[in-house]
């Protein structure tokens, strides 16, 4: 195994078995806030136990180890093809070791070859930057939460949602209502306003790279992020949809330009088992530091 493969394997392992610190803190706050003796509190206790157990046993937090999505910031002239080979190899080994479930299925034949490598798996997004540093971030996103993602085309008459931030708010809160507990709440929303149907969803997922405790640089969007979380937590959907005080742990909104004819609001729902990690790698391919 090369040093790069080794580092990527460790990135996959850690992403699958450990929750990032910012998310863990939000989960602990939510456990505190739930009413004592309710099934919502009981659910949050099991979630808290599960986080500790997964880390101690170095086994997946959730059996659905999800879509494997790499985000790579690389220097100009970086060999992307070699990186793709290394990533595919690391995914195969991580699957054999049980850090990833055999999770990738041929959509026509229904066959699962057990490797997790095939068209679209893993997905790797490259982004060049003028720095010698190589940064690799990884999101493992389960199917249950992916299935409750939603895309709205505004105006939407049923929701009385116009082409403005209030219309966006209505669409986002409708997505929370429709999701109920099916996406394994308390959840985190990645949202994109604008873009096309493909870039909108893609950019909404990228918002999930942000830390829960950061602030949106745009004051209007920051207000909307806070408002969405506050309002969602008044709805009483609660952990797992059992009823309760925490429905969302966070909401992050990004914006892309749109065509005059289009106005999309794309919502990606992330479950409480928010598997996101990242590393900065040295020129030798070894792990320098962790990003979350």
């Amino acid at each position: 195994m090369t040093a790069l493969q080794d580092s990527l394997l460790e990135l996959i392992r850690r992403t699958s078995v450990e929750i990032p610190e910012d998310v863990h803190q939000a989960i602990l706050r939510s456990l505190e806030q739930e009413k004592k003796g309710t099934i919502a509190e009981s659910a949050m206790k099991i979630i808290d136990q599960n986080i500790a157990l997964a880390k101690n046993k170095s086994q997946p937090i959730c059996q659905d180890t999800g879509s494997i999505i790499f985000y790579v910031d690389c220097p100009v002239g970086f060999d992307q093809l070699a990186f793709e080979d290394a990533a595919r190899e690391a995914v195969k080994i991580a699957t054999k070791k049980g850090f990833l479930r055999q999770n990738s299925v041929d959509s026509v034949s229904g066959k699962n070859d057990g490797t997790n490598v095939g068209p679209g798996s893993p997905t790797i997004h490259f982004h060049q930057h003028r720095s010698p540093e190589l940064r690799v971030r990884l999101v493992l996103k389960g199917g249950g939460c992916e299935n409750v993602g939603a895309q709205y085309s505004l105006p939407n008459e049923k929701l009385k949602a116009d082409r403005d931030l209030d219309g966006c708010r209505k669409a986002i809160l409708d997505a929370v209502l429709q999701a109920q507990g099916k996406g394994c709440g308390p959840g985190i929303l990645g949202i994109c306003i604008g873009g096309d149907r493909a870039t909108g969803y893609e950019f909404s997922k990228q918002q999930l790279l942000r830390k829960l405790d950061d602030r949106n640089e745009n004051a209007d969007l920051n207000r909307l992020e806070e408002d969405v979380v506050e309002t969602a937590n008044k709805l009483g959907i609660g952990p797992m949809g059992f009823g309760g005080r925490t429905t969302l742990l966070g909401a992050k909104i990004g914006v892309l330009n749109r065509l005059p004819a289009s106005y999309f609001v794309s919502v990606s729902y992330m479950c409480w088992a928010y598997r996101r990690q990242g590393v900065a790698l040295g020129a030798d391919g070894k792990i320098g530091n962790w990003l979350y």
Partner: protein, 193 residues
């Protein structure tokens, strides 16, 4: 909160006595079955020899299972998958195979709720994502069925469990926590728009 102990095979009277909000701890045998298994059984597929769902509990789960150094199956992660995808099929499987319980997450809808009431079955909600806590209660994995046909996550796994925790969210008397929470949250949202 005290959990109500349930052992398989389960009597109808035990299931009929459960109410929405009850927390249970399940011991005995669970069989997993998810998307491929439901479609297969609904379309007339036969249960493999060795699998009996009569009085049994079906678990919507695609686990991570590896072979240990002795060649035995070992389950290393086993949380529930989203149940609503089985809504088109579940009612018939409850009716035809004598199921007393379905474990999953996210809840199911009216056809399943009606089948639970008619045939004496309950929907038991496990904590989604809690793959390690739930795997701890799986003591042994004696068999796997339909592995070649459906692949590991979609196969029928036989689990011996002790103290498997779940919450009754749809009971055999027509009550559904999911319906209640949806209606209440929808009404609340209307106040904030």
């Amino acid at each position: 909160m005290n959990r109500i102990a349930i052992a398989t095979p389960v009597d109808e009277s035990v299931i009929r006595s459960l109410k929405v909000g009850d927390e249970v701890a399940i011991s005995g045998t669970l069989f997993t079955g998810r998307d491929a298994v439901h479609k297969y059984l609904y379309q007339g597929g036969k249960l493999p020899p060795g699998v009996s769902l009569n009085g049994g509990i079906l678990y919507h789960c695609g686990p991570v299972v590896i072979k240990d150094e002795h060649g035995n199956w070992k389950c290393t992660a086993a949380g529930p998958t989203t149940s609503i995808r089985e809504e088109p099929y579940q009612w018939q499987i409850i009716r035809d195979f004598g199921l007393r319980g379905v474990i999953g997450k996210g809840g199911m809808a009216d056809k399943t709720l009606a089948a639970c009431r008619e045939h004496g079955c309950a929907y038991l909600h496990a904590i989604g994502g809690a793959a390690q806590v739930l795997a701890e209660s799986i003591k042994r994995v004696p068999h796997v069925y339909l592995m070649d046909e459906f692949g590991a996550p979609e196969a029928i796994w036989e689990f011996e469990v002790a103290g498997f925790p779940a919450v009754v969210t749809m009971d055999a008397n027509g009550n559904s926590l999911h319906k209640e929470v949806f209606a209440a949250s929808q009404a609340e949202l209307a106040k904030h728009l």
